[in-house]
């Protein structure tokens, strides 16, 4: 991928030779940054998505130029930071008179993700965290090319290719074992684990043919996706004097094809629009897996946990029909009705061999055979009224009905893990949203929305293996009902020509209700969210803008776990506050100043976690100040020096360390020099 990026950049820069010295548009912004970081540099890298120390490259590159008499060339690079592997840009060559005649694009979007390598944290025991000696960086890059052109006056063609490549190491949330006292005491799982993604390559091809026949717009699209992924998961245990580790090597191959045929027609001067869609999907995936547990020092296998040559072969196919009708009911009512029907079929065949001692010989094998078949319907209705001046109410309703038959058979050669069931699953969904947009005055905008969203999942087992208190062999849900209510309101007021105020409020309550098989009653859980966001924008003069914004969010989830004293778990809290302040001041034609201050903090998310054994609340604070000056030295040259400083503080109960950073940066922008 990196060689391909270099090739892309080389090809992109070739036209500079052509452009230089002519009247064409040319803009280039090289940038140089230097980060000084104290304390937890790994956490800094993760949270800021950047390496520290020196980073250089391009912040922007624009090239616009005619290519001959009919074509235009347009290169737009948004980022090219070499140390960060960060590139984003599009090269476009098109017919200047009509893009439908020729339009070629080639683009790239690549970056690194960085991860903390300390896993979990347990402030109450020593050591409170562990460190794996790995640099966790995952490269994520996309390269694409599209070409659009007519084919022999027959139809218009859009051909696309995308290569999505990932490679590197990322942190897992599956953690290894430690103990509350060195090698003794209770087991707690917080030793870091990671996945080494040796490679993930996704190749996508798409061919879209479109043509208009007697007013009918017809599209036929073919999509093909081929995936190969090889992740290696490592989990380290530090619960004994002879540390062990788990290594799971997986090879995954995926194949998906979809064909979509769509027709759309406008009737009666666009007062009626109708479309029909048919889509066929066929996909498959194959997985091969080895999982071994061994002592790190000697490589000797640990008894009972080794699996070799596991294989799975899965297939899925789906037919989907859709209809979409929009009609103007009179002058001011707009009614959209949409429908969908789908048929789905999936089958899987897998074997899972296990070596339950250390001799390298398979002792028993799970043979797995699962399938599901079913169908579903979806309906949607949207009614919008635009008959009143400055007031638009709307109503949206959605219904969905799905029926699925699940068949799962797992036969173990030693009968230890036998599992089977046949379940008829019915899923019903019902969503209603109503609201309005309004301008009661020219200087005031008001919108409000209320909604309710209901899901009902009903499971009926017609064939099922019996479970026991110590072996979880059977499916167990009879009925699952989730219901959400919520409201959103936004009000924007501009009382003076230079003053803008916005306020948005959101509230929602989701109730989860599960009924276990043969249980006397269902159990309810709740998740409640409250969000407030206010923005105050002052533009007293064209050259001065001040924006102050504040966000407050409260999220609480209550479950039955907080009422059970033996394994007491407090309600989960995920609230936070954010304050943002931004000042832009154009001192004159040649100098502009900009300052941003941001503070995000959450300080009320820890309850008493003593009963859970592992504290996982989040209390933290993040501060950041950025100032920059834009100085136009000449008509075509601008220098932008900037300075940034920030800090990250986290509760010692939740993580290991903090960081402070300073950033010095300078950017030069040259235009048509």
């Amino acid at each position: 991928m990196k060689k391909t990026i270099s090739l892309f950049l080389f090809i992109s820069l070739l036209p500079i030779i052509h452009v230089y010295g002519s009247e064409k548009t040319f803009l280039i912004s090289p940038v140089f940054k230097y980060y000084f970081v104290d304390n937890d540099t790994v956490k800094f890298r993760e949270l800021n998505d950047t390496k520290r120390n020196f980073i250089g490259g391009l912040d922007q590159l624009l090239l616009k130029s005619p290519l001959g008499s009919t074509l235009d060339f347009d290169l737009d690079v948004e980022k090219a930071l070499i140390e960060n592997n960060e590139y984003r840009g599009i090269l476009n060559i098109f017919n200047k008179n009509d893009r439908d005649l020729f339009d070629f694009k080639m683009g790239i979007n690549a970056f690194n993700r960085y991860y903390d390598n300390t896993g979990g944290h347990h402030g109450a025991i020593t050591p409170s965290s562990f460190n794996i000696d790995r640099d966790l960086i995952l490269f994520d890059g996309k390269l694409f090319a599209t070409i659009a052109a007519p084919i022999f006056n027959f139809a218009h063609m859009d051909l696309e290719y995308l290569w999505h490549h990932k490679q590197g190491k990322s942190a897992n949330l599956n953690w290894g074992a430690a103990r509350t006292a060195p090698y003794t005491g209770n087991t707690r799982k917080f030793v870091p684990g990671f996945t080494n993604l040796r490679r993930e390559n996704l190749h996508e091809f798409s061919l879209n043919l479109s043509k208009e026949i007697k007013g009918y717009e017809i599209e036929f699209k073919n999509d093909l996706a081929i995936l190969r992924e090889v992740p290696v998961r490592e989990e380290h245990n530090r619960n004994s004097a002879t540390p062990s580790m788990v290594r799971q090597i997986t090879k995954l191959d995926g194949f998906n094809y979809a064909a979509t045929l769509k027709t759309l027609k406008h009737f009666k001067e666009d007062r009626f629009i109708g479309s029909l869609v048919y889509r066929f999907e066929k996909g498959s995936s194959e997985e091969n897996e080895d999982l071994r547990v061994f002592t790190e020092a000697t490589g000797a296998q640990v008894s009972g946990h080794n699996r070799y040559g596991a294989e799975a072969d899965n297939k899925i196919s789906q037919h989907i029909w859709g209809i979409n009708l929009l009609s103007d009911l009179g002058k001011n009512f707009f009614l959209t009705t949409r429908g969908r029907v789908n048929l789905k079929s999936r089958s899987s065949d897998a074997t899972y061999p296990r070596d339950t001692d250390t001799d390298g010989i398979i002792n028993n094998t799970n043979n797995i055979d699962t399938s599901d078949k079913g169908f579903g319907f979806g309906e949607q209705l949207i009614l919008t009224y635009k008959g009143r001046t400055a007031f638009t109410p709307y109503l949206k309703a959605e219904l969905e009905q799905n029926i699925l038959k699940l068949t799962e058979d797992q036969v173990n050669t030693a009968a230890a893990d036998d599992f089977y069931r046949t379940t008829k699953l019915k899923v019903y969904k019902f969503l209603v949203t109503g609201g309005f947009y309004s301008y009661p005055y020219r200087w005031m905008k008001l919108s409000a929305q209320g909604f309710t969203d209901n899901n009902i999942d009903s499971y009926k087992d017609t064939r099922e293996i019996a479970g026991t208190p110590t072996s979880d062999k059977s499916a167990f849900v009879d009925d699952m009902r989730n219901r959400s209510y919520g409201t959103k309101t936004t009000i924007s007021i501009r009382p003076l020509s230079w003053l803008y105020t916005d306020y948005r409020f959101q509230w929602s309550d989701t109730q989860f209700r599960m009924l276990k098989e043969a249980a006397p009653a269902s159990v309810k859980s709740h998740s409640r969210t409250q969000k407030h966001m206010g923005v105050l924008t002052l533009i007293p003069w064209d050259y001065l803008t001040l924006i102050e914004s504040f966000a407050y969010q409260k999220l609480e989830t209550n479950t039955i776990a907080q009422d059970v004293s033996s394994v007491n778990l407090p309600k989960n809290k995920g609230g936070f506050n954010t304050f943002l302040s931004s000042l832009t001041y154009d001192v004159g034609d040649k100098l502009s100043l900009k300052a941003d201050y941001q503070k995000t903090w959450s300080n009320d998310n820890f309850d008493d976690f003593s009963g859970t054994g592992l504290p996982v609340g989040i209390d933290h604070k993040f501060d950041n100040l950025h100032v920059e000056a834009g100085w136009k030295i000449r008509k075509n040259l601008e220098i932008t020096p900037s300075y940034e400083t920030g800090l990250y503080r986290i509760s010692s109960r939740a993580h290991i360390d903090d960081y402070d950073y300073h950033l010095a940066s300078v950017k030069a922008t040259l235009k048509n020099f």
Partner: protein, 251 residues
Amino acid sequence: MIQKISFLIVVILLFSCTPKKEIVVNPPYFRNASRGAEYVGKETCATCHEKKVRDFKLADHFRIEVSGVEGVHGTSCEMCHGPGSLHVEGGGDKTKILNLKKDNESCFQCHLEKKAEFKLLSHHPVLEGKVKCTDCHDPHGSDVQPWSAVSIRGTNDTCFKCHAGKQGPLSYEHEALASSCTVCHNPHGSIHPKMLLQNDKNLCIKCHAQVDYPTIGKRSAHSGYSVQGTCWSAGCHTKPHGSNFDPHLRY
């Protein structure tokens, strides 16, 4: 005393001036980003972008257009792309119009809270410029949210565009995914790792709750494990998205 005087000045400033007729509430971002441009109306846009304008009636965002309001919200395209006169005068100059594929700020003018969520510890790198709102949302589409009951594409196809390894099909699929990835993740941002909505066992127990908890399903032996960590981090249910080999998503 100083506070009272300051307050008085603010009140006088705010309420002594009756808003003038030409003051129209519109996104303040447009004032600087499209400086000098005027609203031209969707009919002008249609001269070049005919199909986009014609089909906009089918879009979710069509409902935002309010009749009888000159300027931003009576003009479909310009309510997101900003006033377009300079773009028109420049013969379609792309630098004179807001392009949502490059600039998310236009989206944040209405979706205020999303910008705050992208500032949280775990988030998709939108403000960093690595991902754009339009990578997941189609503002011209019938489903501006990535999925509805009548979408032709699958529930989580938007997520699978980048997270292809999670797509399956698998032998045992976590049925929560049939509802949506958002049952467990907030794709805009969260204070918890991996953009999880909850970072402890409440994430799972909110659905897997039963009267005889800590028994889960028919297995009562969860008490000993539940103090070791979360359901997915304590080495047990390590495949929360689905498994090819275990109905309980352990390996």
